[in-house]
Symmetry: D2
Subunit: 195 residues, 4 copies
Amino acid sequence: MSVRTPDPDPDWTPDAEPPPHPSSTPGWLTDFELAQIRERLPLLYVEAVPVRVDGLGQVTELGVLLRANPLGEMTRTLVSGRVMYGETLRDALFRHLEKDLGPMAFPQLPLSPVPFSVAEYFPLPGISAFTDDRQHAVSLAYVVSVTGTCEPRQDALEITWMTPEEAASDEVCAEMEGGRGVLLRQALASVGGLR
Amino acid sequence: MSVRTPDPDPDWTPDAEPPPHPSSTPGWLTDFELAQIRERLPLLYVEAVPVRVDGLGQVTELGVLLRANPLGEMTRTLVSGRVMYGETLRDALFRHLEKDLGPMAFPQLPLSPVPFSVAEYFPLPGISAFTDDRQHAVSLAYVVSVTGTCEPRQDALEITWMTPEEAASDEVCAEMEGGRGVLLRQALASVGGLR
Amino acid sequence: MSVRTPDPDPDWTPDAEPPPHPSSTPGWLTDFELAQIRERLPLLYVEAVPVRVDGLGQVTELGVLLRANPLGEMTRTLVSGRVMYGETLRDALFRHLEKDLGPMAFPQLPLSPVPFSVAEYFPLPGISAFTDDRQHAVSLAYVVSVTGTCEPRQDALEITWMTPEEAASDEVCAEMEGGRGVLLRQALASVGGLR
Amino acid sequence: MSVRTPDPDPDWTPDAEPPPHPSSTPGWLTDFELAQIRERLPLLYVEAVPVRVDGLGQVTELGVLLRANPLGEMTRTLVSGRVMYGETLRDALFRHLEKDLGPMAFPQLPLSPVPFSVAEYFPLPGISAFTDDRQHAVSLAYVVSVTGTCEPRQDALEITWMTPEEAASDEVCAEMEGGRGVLLRQALASVGGLR
């Protein structure tokens, strides 16, 4: 099975405003440039596990995205995306949450910029728990409470809400792309919800 | 100057419902029993730094309580109180936030039960950064975002909202009772707001 | 099966020096006093997962204690014990590590006093993931690297070293007393070793 | 004053073995390529605050590097460097510790891969607490206990050991390049040493 992180520039679909011209905006890369860099440098990502909480802040549900990969296979994944040049981590996190969950999700970004986990994705398996056949990526992962309505946009077909027990199950873990089942369990552990 | 943690059972003011009879409710202690235990065991507290955040989760203001101590002196302190027998940490945190900030503060309890700091209060100074002349107390400290209106009740006269810069200043730190200026700075550090 | 935290004063076995007389040392309690307090107040504990690491700080093995409980049943548990009056958390952690692992374990206490998890033990199941039929206890849990030789003393019969995979297995988790299998998995998650 | 992060490839000094040829080793970049990428992508760094601890794990001293920048000015900085393609964070951290502190420092890498802070460096001031006039860099920062002898190599002239009080002082903070005084205080806060 081909596992991939989401395309790093997935904002530029027909629905979105067109990207600025690469040569005039240093932060933007052509596909060719990005392909070159991907073989040379680790790329920085942010990743989020959206959750719903009760009145005492306890996580009751976790949101997992269902997505069709380029081969047409269904895989589960998390909110995820690249940090752009000049962009703060908070801005990147907010942008990708809006991109993947829609404008009405109302995410409550974490108070602390320290992630619950740093996931290292390598093209080859065995170096860490995570793989990405396109690149070496390092992802700062956060648990983010959402209070509004989530309507996945773009290539994410659906968001599935799971109880902590379901999210930690071997079945769900096996379906998560790139080894993100481990990330889901680490997220649960960080909020005291791992059983 | 006499520095003290808030009285451990401050709920039982004339405004509150009367406490259950101690002998029939194991979790409640008479003043005499509590005084005895205070010389024998470390007591468990929770403490909170209430904050206001912007749309990206960045802390813009911190709330500090102004209180008159039994000697009539004004001191600054944090939301704080004892964990009762049979009570979860989340319940204790919520109860003390409501007690000190009123019922309309709408605190967003942290997703993680791991505190940003564990403050150890000893009767004698020099053992740690924190002192409490009544007891040995160990306090789990949390940063808590509040979205509503804070109206201090009981013995807290006022809540003062400060910018991160003000809260970290030497002046404010010197006014915090029991060494809590350090806790305020640790809270700021934990949310990336220490400058 | 009866699950219990270790007796809170397990230092005072025939092998150890006798405790000071309670009335002259406020930090020490008679059995009767402790029994009384246990029905009135949450008791503060520290807990440790001893680990061995490789040259890059990666956890290779976790140590789990095998102990016979008062009913003669074998259970697995962690290094654990009560924080005494006037004692710092670091002192308590060191004392219990030495008590349970012997004087040659050479534990490297964590740089940060913030625990990886706060475990709440209640007499009745269902309130949290952890139970202790004797009391309400709140335990600050740490992962501690040990570099020497561990020789369990007192009531711990043996220390078993496990790989991360073994420690996270359902079998081991089911054998841990009071729900500490969850704590073991949280410990693994905190060091990036949960798979 | 010109503030800079250490050159991203400082291993390749006359003292070190020559770098592999760029075209045959995808992880290595020519100076020209790196200069191009620096205007397009955030670069990933690791950073370390070396510390000495007492027998209970409490930080007694922090190590700060003294370095001459390209303009011949003396500035203080931390152990720091880029994460290379295909390199784990632990490997990068170990490599830069050895590079800056020498082979006899015997660093004890942290058990947890989660940093105490994520420092965001931007070319322009005001976006975060940190600046780097060469690039947008995101740095994962760790406190690392060292038990051996530190002998700075390469462009670091000297390592200065400071008490927690000295390290947190306004004087030292003002001398740290790129705003790293804040990082030093965050490091202290994370180990309970901020006063």
